[in-house]
């Protein structure tokens, strides 16, 4: 899908209907090729121009299909809705925003292909990525091309250490979020034993270790740490082992789909933490919540770098997201909020929008309220993670609601 502010040409392939069954095979091959071509991306357009009246061209490589497509697609649609809203309102400093929007299917190789296309088109920035798997493959390419890579929904410590000057993020790493949440949850619900369930990722070991330290530091004990490969078919062994530990808290350091399967296995085996089930912003979304058994919902507490939908009722984002026919929930608000931050940066950079100018502008931000959805943002030359406070969300009537805030 590609959202472009100006008229675009739709190419239609001339052709007739196969006349015989013998052509079915050829038709199937054609359909397959068409699928592959469409899966490889659909962006078209001229190179970005430095002229002040030309559109500001941004690249988005995002999983619209694949393992995290369900989480990322609504976020992407909300981003595009906000950019359309900006364009319809006159653009940024009189210039339209032009988006080359490409599906990478949560596949690093496809993300690299998309990124090379963005570099060839000389987009001014790449944004809107979703997932922790693809950015490590994109960052070196964008860094070498001096194109800012703005605000991935996903957080990996590998991207921050060593820090690439072109890489900026809004949310703290999932590990940092959980580490920050542990003292809060102990303070509000009492100390206790903690079991940590992780999906195997480059960060999982580091995160489990950091959370364990935070638990001990806050006066709790670590009952056990568990790691399962992404896409694990049967979580029963983990649940059964965890059940024998009788944890007061279970920490979910998982990708949303695995967290959903894990909680389903918990329900099947009648496992529930005595106190709370704690997750990061990776699971602070409606798609995850819809898979959680109602009996487990009251125990769920998650961190979020964006406002809960119930707290964002009167924002411009809510209006835009609703007008676009999308559900107002965590990921759509995040998409809209991220687009607001991108728009604010472009606005502040002024007429000469270039990669280095964007980097320089962001690094000068201190407590800037760039979005209704995110808290104030602060960046510097050495800190490229903008959010320093987090919202704590619980569940009421099947929906997330804000119950606290960290680092106010």
């Amino acid at each position: 899908m590609s959202y472009e502010p100006r008229a675009r040409t739709i190419r239609r392939r001339p052709g007739g209907r196969p006349r015989s069954r013998a052509l079915l095979g050829a038709g199937a091959v054609g359909a397959t090729l068409a699928l592959l071509v469409s899966a490889c991306g659909s962006g078209t357009g001229d190179s970005a121009s430095a002229g002040s009246d030309d559109p500001i061209e941004l690249g988005i490589s995002v999983p619209l299909s694949g393992a995290v497509g369900s989480s990322c697609t609504p976020m992407n649609k909300a981003m595009l809705a906000w950019f359309k809203h900006v364009n319809d309102s006159g653009g940024v400093n009189g210039r339209q925003i032009k988006i080359d929007n490409r599906d990478d299917g949560y596949d690093a190789a496809r993300a690299v292909t998309n990124t090379k296309a963005f570099i060839a088109k000389k987009v001014v920035a790449v944004t809107g990525q979703c997932g922790s798997l693809q950015p490590p493959a994109q960052v070196p390419l964008l860094g070498a091309a001096k194109i800012p890579f703005l605000f991935v929904f996903g957080a990996s410590t590998k991207l921050l250490d060593p820090l690439n000057p072109m890489y900026f993020n809004l949310m703290p790493t999932y590990g940092d979020q959980l580490v920050a949440a542990v003292p809060w949850i102990f303070q509000h619900h009492g100390t206790g034993s903690v079991a940590i369930m992780s999906t195997t990722t480059p960060d999982s070991e580091h995160t489990a270790s950091s959370v364990s330290e935070a638990v001990k530091k806050a006066g709790g004990t670590v009952a056990g740490t568990f790691t399962a490969p992404p896409g694990t078919a049967d979580f029963s062994p983990y649940v059964l082992k965890m059940k024998g530990l009788h944890p007061d808290y279970i920490v979910l350091n998982q990708i949303p789909q695995d967290a959903a399967r894990f909680t389903k296995a918990m329900t099947a085996q009648k496992l529930a933490p005595t106190k709370k089930l704690l997750g990061s912003s990776a699971v602070s979304q409606a798609t995850f919540l819809s898979t959680v058994d109602p009996a487990v919902m009251p125990k769920l507490v998650v961190t979020s770098d964006t406002l809960a939908p119930s707290a964002a009722e009167n924002t411009e984002c809510t209006k835009v997201v609703k007008a676009a026919g999308l559900e107002v929930e965590g990921v759509t608000l995040r998409g809209c909020g991220t687009a607001q931050v991108v728009t604010e940066v472009l606005k502040r950079v002024g007429d000469k929008v270039t990669g280095p100018a964007i980097v320089s502008e962001l690094e000068s931000w201190k407590n800037v309220k760039a979005s209704e959805i995110y808290p104030e943002l602060t960046f510097s030359k050495t800190n490229h993670v903008g959010v320093s406070s987090l919202y704590i969300l619980g569940v009421k009537d099947g929906e997330f609601e804000q119950i606290g805030q960290l680092g106010e």
């Binding site: 079915l24 095979g25 199937a28 397959t32 699928l35 592959l36 899966a39 619209l64 299909s65 694949g66 393992a67 497509g69 369900s70 697609t73 299917g105 195997t200 568990f226 790691t227 399962a228 490969p229 896409g231 694990t232 078919a233 049967d234 029963s236 062994p237 983990y238 059964l240 082992k241 024998g244 789909q257 959903a260 399967r261 389903k264 296995a265 099947a268 085996q269 009648k270 798609t287 819809s290 898979t291």
Partner: protein, 290 residues
């Protein structure tokens, strides 16, 4: 106590693996080719059931309609993908099944994939029985019962029906069976008409637990191949034994050695079986008269 719980859970999981393995071996025996797409056929059919469910609201009606449609879907796949130029050789047909596997995944992403994974309605009762601290889910018990019933039905079919006899004849000596008047092409179509609902059944058992998405069968496909090898690629009932071995061992490995080793342990069992007992636990060696 933990080990016993894990073993029971592994048996339930292993029988689902065994069912997919059964489909692979059944198609291999009746058509000469193990269809790599068997899992994704079930995934695609489960998506169709989900669409029907969304349309009319009753999961049981949707499953019933889906089972009927899956018979046609199986036949359609055979007629469109495998039947044309079926004399092109085993390698050609095998590659077609790999292409079908990829095509079904891609088509599922295109037609159903935008909001996946989906929460699939459970068709089996929730909850379970607690025996001495071990929870046995009703869904697991019923799954085991279903798989055992299917195994018994197939044993009866092979032993007591002409159709079963013809399947066995084709499986053992297809050219001779053909000379004796067995219509091999027709039998292959029937095999796919049987495989379609079986593949859907796997999807219906898995989707409520694992969510419905286009890659849902990928993790167990490798396990199913391992189970087929362990059971003996020529033994239909051996697939269930192989599935139980793989399910129990991988669950024990996940519990005591770590989840990252689960798949490795299944593949190791497969390799060891091939090296030490090439015909698996229940397979029979091929004997040729010289």
């Amino acid at each position: 106590m933990l080990a016993l719980s894990v073993i029971i859970s592994g048996i339930a999981f292993g029988l689902v693996i065994g069912l997919l393995s059964f489909v692979l071996v059944f198609l291999n025996k009746t058509t000469g080719v193990a269809n790599f797409a068997a899992g994704n056929i079930g995934m695609f059919e489960t998506f169709i059931v989900y669409r029907i469910y969304l349309y009319q609201g009753d999961a049981y009606v949707a499953a019933g309609l889906g089972l009927a449609l899956s018979v046609l879907f199986g036949a359609l796949l055979y007629l469109v993908v495998l039947r044309p130029f079926s004399s092109a050789g085993t390698a050609n047909i095998l590659v077609r099944t790999v292409a079908l596997y990829l095509l079904l995944a891609a088509m599922a992403n295109v037609f159903f994939g935008k909001q996946q994974p989906y929460t699939f309605p459970t068709l089996l009762p929730k909850g379970g029985a607690s025996l001495g601290g071990i929870v046995i889910a009703w869904s697991d018990l019923i799954s085991v019962g279903l798989v055992v019933a299917i195994g018994a039905l197939f044993v009866a079919m092979f032993r007591f029906t002409d159709l079963g006899l013809q399947f066995l004849a084709v499986a053992q000596q297809a050219p001779i069976a053909r000379l004796l008047g067995v219509r091999v092409g027709r039998l292959s179509a029937i095999a796919y008409m049987i495989a379609g609902p079986l593949a859907l059944l796997i999807g219906l058992l898995m989707a409520p637990k694992q969510l419905l998405f286009s890659q849902m069968m990928d993790p167990i496909l490798l396990y199913a191949f391992a189970a087929a090898v362990v059971g003996g690629f020529t033994s239909l009932l051996g697939t269930f034994a192989g599935g139980i071995v793989i399910g129990v061992v991988t669950n024990l490995v996940s519990t005591y050695l770590g989840g990252d080793l689960a798949l490795a342990s299944a593949l190791a069992i497969m390799l060891v079986t091939l090296a030490v007992r090439p015909n698996g636990l229940f397979g029979t060696a091929q004997v040729a008269r010289l």
